[in-house]
Amino acid sequence: MRIIRYIVKKEFKQIFRNKGMLPIIFILPVLQLVILSNAATYEIKNIMVGYVDADNSSSSRGLVERFDASTYFYVTNKFASEKEASEAMQGGSIDAYINIPTNFERDLQKDKINEVGVFIDAIDGSAAGVINVYISQIIKSYNKNIRLDLIQVSDGVQKTNNIDSIPLFWYNNTLNYKTFMVPGILVLLVTMITLFLSGMNIVREKEIGTLEQINVTPIKKHHFIIGKLFPFWVLGMGLLTIGLILAKVIFNTPMIGNLGLLYAYTSVYILVILGMGLFISNFTETQQQAMFIAWFFIVIFILMSGLFTPIESMPKWAQILTEFNPIKYFVEIIRMVMLKGSGFTDIFPLAIKTLAYAIVMNGLAVWSYKKTT
């Protein structure tokens, strides 16, 4: 125990003496949280929409006005022909256009089936899907009002028989994407900083030769490793705290659940990451190698974490792979605890997997750390 304390003291001194590293540890995560949380959005806004109006009637203008009134759309301009509109889309100045055919108003009044062409730039498939939904909703509501008008005009009796669904959005009822993103990004920075620092720390001692000096002492492997990793565990917890404070102060992210539970989970989670960092440093000779390997894993972990794209929509094999992604567990749990107020029993299945992961990872790390080559 005493020996561990000597190592921990030494590590902290080195961390806080490293003037190049300190800002990276504490300032970059703050910037990341502020920038990413504001920029990484699922919301599709500012959709540039053009139209071709061959009918030029009060009904067709009414439809266009509805788009104009929507906060999601900018109606850019009216094109003389479909060709012009498609050229504009090719050039990227519009995201979608609507083609209103001749006799639009006449057909509407006759209560005939009517078709409006909608063309969407679908390079970003998911964005196109969302745009489609928005446009359909506008057209549908327009349609309904028109029908209502027509019905009232024709026989004065309301006989709409639509079934309407009224959605209730739980847990994030204003559909604020920041509420959704901030906890996830918090996970990222806790993970990245602790993985990079722990991964490079021991390799650094290899590079400067001090590791050899330590390996000729009778120090026990686990003493050394605990002493080495504990400071980064503390840093990780510190980063979580800073992140939570920022989330509250800047983004007013709801924190419904028990923060104690979140801290308890994080304390286990960071062990997984530290074990991974140590494992990486055992198999690399230079900080550069360690950095590249850490990056490789971080990128995969982030993109497959459910942070940006839902895991449920990944192919089956990818979903199985995500079982090995620690970030996935943390993202899910932090959202559950902070946004839904999930309790211990709710997160238990995920937490137990994380614990098992921590044990396996650290077991591997200790096993692969060799004092003798």
């Binding site: 005493r2 020996i3 304390r5 000597y6 190592i7 003291k9 030494k10 001194k13 080195q14 003496r17 490293n18 400067i208 030769g209 001090t210 050899e212 000096q213 330590i214 390996n215 000729v216 002492t217 009778p218 120090i219 050394f224 004092k371 003798t372 080559t373």
Partner: protein, 242 residues
């Protein structure tokens, strides 16, 4: 210990692929001896030393250090030896005092022992002025002396020095050897590798390694007689050139 030998090596080899970095060497080192381990660059000195200090597994042969087997009891060996590598291996970003405290700590010394040792060391090396300066700011000679002292912190039976005076000025080298003598006088066995043939003269016995093999092993006096030369330098040149 049965005999007086603190290091006993029989047919020790280390192969890297097909290359025999150390090729069936045998020797012993007596307690309290200053044993010089000479050889050109790449002759296998460092490899041999790393096997003896328990951080490199031998390919074949046997060796005991301080009575412990290098294969099975490396951790016991480590309790009984000190080591100073050819690359300066203290922490540049810690102060003199912090380095001493750290290494004393991981050797399991008590706080009291560490404080006492530190005072002795600082006094002996004349480092009073710089105890709280970062090691990075010290001149190389001082660093080397500090590293040597740190390797003696836990009062090991044997201390291994890998080219301890590389890149150091003659005055500091002289002082360094005085420290080595002092440690030897107090009963510590010294196992030292060097390039400097004048330093070889200071050793009780020297071995000369050429291409992984020990080609000669005796007192400097006997070696000079055997090879019919006046200096160790000539002995070395005769052997190394083959």
């Amino acid at each position: 210990m049965m005999n007086n030998n603190v290091i006993q090596v029989e047919n020790l080899s280390k192969l890297f692929g097909d290359f025999a970095a150390v090729d069936t060497i045998s020797f012993h080192v007596k307690a309290g001896e200053i044993f010089g381990f000479l050889g050109a660059n790449g002759a296998g000195k460092t490899t041999a030393m790393k096997m003896l200090i328990g951080i490199l597994s031998p390919t074949s042969g046997t060796a005991t250090v301080a009575g412990f087997d290098v294969y099975k009891e490396a951790e016991n060996i480590k309790k009984n030896i000190g080591y100073m590598s050819q690359k300066f291996a203290l922490y540049d970003d810690l102060t003199v005092k912090e380095n001493i405290t750290f290494f004393g700590g991981i050797y399991g010394l008590t706080k009291k022992q560490i404080d006492q040792k530190r005072c002795e060391l600082v006094e002996e090396l004349g480092l009073q002025e710089v105890t709280n300066s970062l090691v990075a700011s010290l001149p190389l000679g001082w660093k080397q002396k500090l590293a040597f002292s740190v390797s003696l912190l836990h009062e090991p039976k044997i201390v291994f020095l890998d080219e301890p005076t590389g890149g150091v000025d003659p005055i500091t080298r002289r002082q360094f050897w005085e420290m080595i003598y002092k440690a030897a006088h107090q009963g510590t066995t010294i196992f030292v590798t060097t390039h400097y043939m004048d330093e070889a003269e200071y050793c009780d016995r020297v071995s000369i390694m050429v291409n992984g093999k020990i080609e000669a092993l005796d007192t400097p006096k006997k070696l000079k007689e055997n090879y019919n030369t006046n200096t160790m330098n000539d002995v070395f040149l005769k052997l190394a050139r083959g």
